[in-house]
Amino acid sequence: MLQVVDLVKTYFQGKIPVHALAGVSFEVADGEFVTITGPSGSGKSTVLNLIGGLDQPTTGDVRIDNVSLLKLSDTERTKMRRDRIGFVFQFFNLLPTMSALENVSLPLILGGVRRKDAEARATEILTHVGLGDRVKHRPDELSGGEQQRVAIARALAYNPVLILADEPTGNLDTKSGKQVLEMLRGLATQERKSVVLVTHDPNAWRYGDRMVRLVDGKVDQILKNEEAR
């Protein structure tokens, strides 16, 4: 489903080149849950940004269902991101002036779905993530865990095939973090969505099928869950 092929990313801090990624390759199958771990500065978030088409690699390629992101125009990448990829961030990144329902409806409306239909779909997803009774609440009226669930619901709005989560539990208490991870696990197992999770959380990788460990911009090891344990 997802192929990451020899990704290299070099950027400049002033005049000094920084090699964030130095040839990272791995694959993610349909319905597979892969966690990416590694120390700070190992290139975890950079990989996720490149997979999501938020950034362009220096060399290498990312293919989603055999479509190379590199060959897509900016608009096509935006469309791909909207229709096939869902993002979940550490700080939720909900729009503070919008209710949970409006936050989830937004990507659908931006994609041209009628407002009524978008809201119906958003209600459905919010109910699915257990927030059916909180749809009218604004982010500042929700707990951290609830906000992250709204963010997951927004990521699911277009029924994407790939979920990219960047430290989704980093800003949550243990209980809420566990709920979020279980939810992502469920998406992979029950709905056959591929999940890529970047995390520092020592317990988070246990929810994945495989773990990719990055060190200094390179793949240090790829372990199956059983092996990791």
Partner: protein, 914 residues
Amino acid sequence: MRYMLRTISLRRMWEHKLRTFLTIVGIALGVAGFIAVEMITDTLKDSFARMIDQVAGRVQLQVTGGDSGVDEALLKRLTGNPDLAAALPVIQVMTKLTTADHKADRISLLLVAVDTLNDRAARDYKMKDAHGVEISDPLLFLNARNAILLAREFAEKYKIKIDQSIELQTSQGKKTFVVRGLLEPEGPATAFGGNFALMDVYAAQLLFGRDGKFDTIDLMLKPGKQVPQVEADLSKLLGGKYDVVRPSQRTQGVDNMMETFDLGLSVQAMVVLAMGIFIIINTVTTSVLQRRREIGIQRMVGVTRWTIWGQFALEGMLFGIAGAAVGTGAGYFMGHWAVLNFAGKISSMFVLVDLSKVSFKWTMAAKGMSLGVGISLIASIWPAWQATRITPLDVVRLGPSLTKGKGIALRRWLYGLVPSAAVTIYLIFAKAGFDLELSRIARLLARPYSLWFRKWGFELDPSLINRVLDLLPKTHYTLLAKGGFGLDGVRVMMITLLVAAITCTPLVMLALLALVRALARGQSSALLRLSADNIVRDLGRAAMTVAAFMVGLAVMLLIYLFVTSTKHEIQSWIEEALTADLIITNSSQIALREAIPVTDALGDELAKVPGVKSIAAVRLLMTDFNNTRIAVLALDLKHHLNKARFRFVKGDKEAGLKLVAAGEAVFLTQNLALRQHMQDAKTITVNTPTGKHVFPVAGIIMDYTSEQGAVVMDRTLYVDVFHDHLADTFHVYLQPGATHEQVEQVRAAIQQNPYMKESFNLFVLTNREFKGTVMQAIDQLFALAYSLEFLAMVIAFIGIVNNLMATVVDRTREIGVIRSIGATRGQVARIFLSQAALLAISGAVISLGCGFAMAAVQLTRIYEIYTGYALPLYYEWWKIGLTMLAAVFVGVIAGVMPARAAARLTLHEALKYE
């Protein structure tokens, strides 16, 4: 503090280059506009004063009778006066010069005519012969009636040689003169930029229609005589028939005449300058909010609140200093440009002067600089104060930095409404006749505000408050005048209106945004919603931008309504009053200052043209009256009573017309009556060549001939009293029902008549053309106001760009999120373009209310107080609609750069942005 300035403030200003640049430009434009206006008005006044001074030479006193002149018999009486060493007759006219080869054609020239035998007592003339030897008495060369001396530089410029013949426009038509010598550039020969000619006063009397009159009699005192004493003695001796003044005092009339024009421009320039306040507040507030964490860190490491305050106040001042410095330089060039483009037209309306020397004084630069820096400091006080409220705890807080909450923003803005409401109530009570004490009201107001200050930890000293409030007037006498609000009252009313409109800005914006959100449908609703949210979350700052935009638009609307109402009223008045088929003037399209009046004998010639039924000569003479210059309008009512169309304001129309046509009384124009408080006057005393003359008043009429007011009389009476046979225009009447072709035939006949063609330089205009020319002249008078308005709109434009760029920076992460969930770059751009449009629409909506209200006050009260006219409000909705649409379009254009910046944000960078 200097360390903080260098290590933090300057670096931050450099970091946000665009914001710094736009803020400095905003202030610079205001300062430049202010200096340019000062330069243009000063140039006009200084040029006139210089001309008076250069022509006056060593003259200590002058006997004047306004433009009507003084009787020549007076010269004999003064010549024998024991206090006087010399009494010198002078005639001074503006004329046009043409050389035989037409190398110089219709060049404006100041012609001064003096007594060739005695004038050197007062003025120095220097002339050299062909060998460069100085001639002891150049005036002796003016021994023939057609002899003339020209300033050397002028003659050389137009290649005029000694003994060459030139043509001058005189009241008798074109006349040939012989250049007998060239004056060196000294003394009077430098007047009017050196476009100067000198001739014999007695020859000028005949040629320029001053039969038995001089323009002034200049006086030299005997040694040891004191000017004030002689001035008083002579005034007594002349029995008030003429004015005895020092030459410098003669500028007063022009200063007064230009007062309304000067005031209008100055107020407008101040408004443009004040718009910079909004930009500074916006910039410093944005800076404070974006650097909240940095301020928290400073506070954590021990920086005091006052140092924080000083840091931001200083930043505001730095913008002011840089803006004022740039603005002063720009103003210098803008002033030169303005003088070059506008001063000529303004000068032709008020007084013809040489505009080659543009006035620029360091005091203007100092005033502009201090105003620019001053308003910047004032504008940064509040945001700097906000910075002091940030605590070290803010270091650990996350979340959108600029979110202040609409409630707080609304409340703070509405605090400003309290004084406006109080002033309104005060004015209502004052109008109703209650004797309210300003200081008592201010004390009442001071109480809640001092509590408010206490809330923030500041204790205001009550004795200090009392001392400040004691400075206010004890009663409302300055605000009220007999019969309604005086000038101070209406000024307060205008400011109140503007402050009320500004403080209501966030409220109106919220209502408008709610409406937009309710009406928006489909995909655009989501984008509009995001745009509206962006505004609501920064309501305070957004309101600041809208307020600046609104002020600019309101003033623009005010000017539009003022000009349109003026034009409409004058047009309908001319339609009514001007019934002639053709209007003829000499040397200028309309009777401006540059027109040379001609002998009324020309009227007899015109009457002979086939197709002409009758001719009416019109004379418009400016004369000094109560320290200003009013017009004396002489009309041929005796022969054209049936053609007279007056709008009567007071008096019996039938009886009044009969009296005036018979030369037994005069009419006063309404503005003269109001300005000079002569609504109930039975007589009016006017300067004439035979001294002050008392005329009975037969009524008050509406007339727009002179902004300062006019006395309207029959021509026969005028000729009798003023000994003046000249005419400024001739009204030509054809047979009733004459067709357009017939009018054109008569026009062609006049233009081709050999006598008129050879001798005069006539402009023959049809009724419609003349009206068009008058309308054009009004537009030209307001051209400078429109230019200033353009500056205001540029500043408003900068305000929107500044605000939106700050929003882009502040919403960077959100933009990243929106993009990451599928918004295209185009959609992000549309969010910011819509935001710009919403800001502009809000400004336009508020400016409509504010502009109309201010125009109503301006037209009905301020204009009436200054000119005596109360103009009815006139406008065309479609034009206003179009202007507002254009303003919104300008707002959207202002959004283009921020929208592009937002759309071009790199996604992963945007998401990392804190």
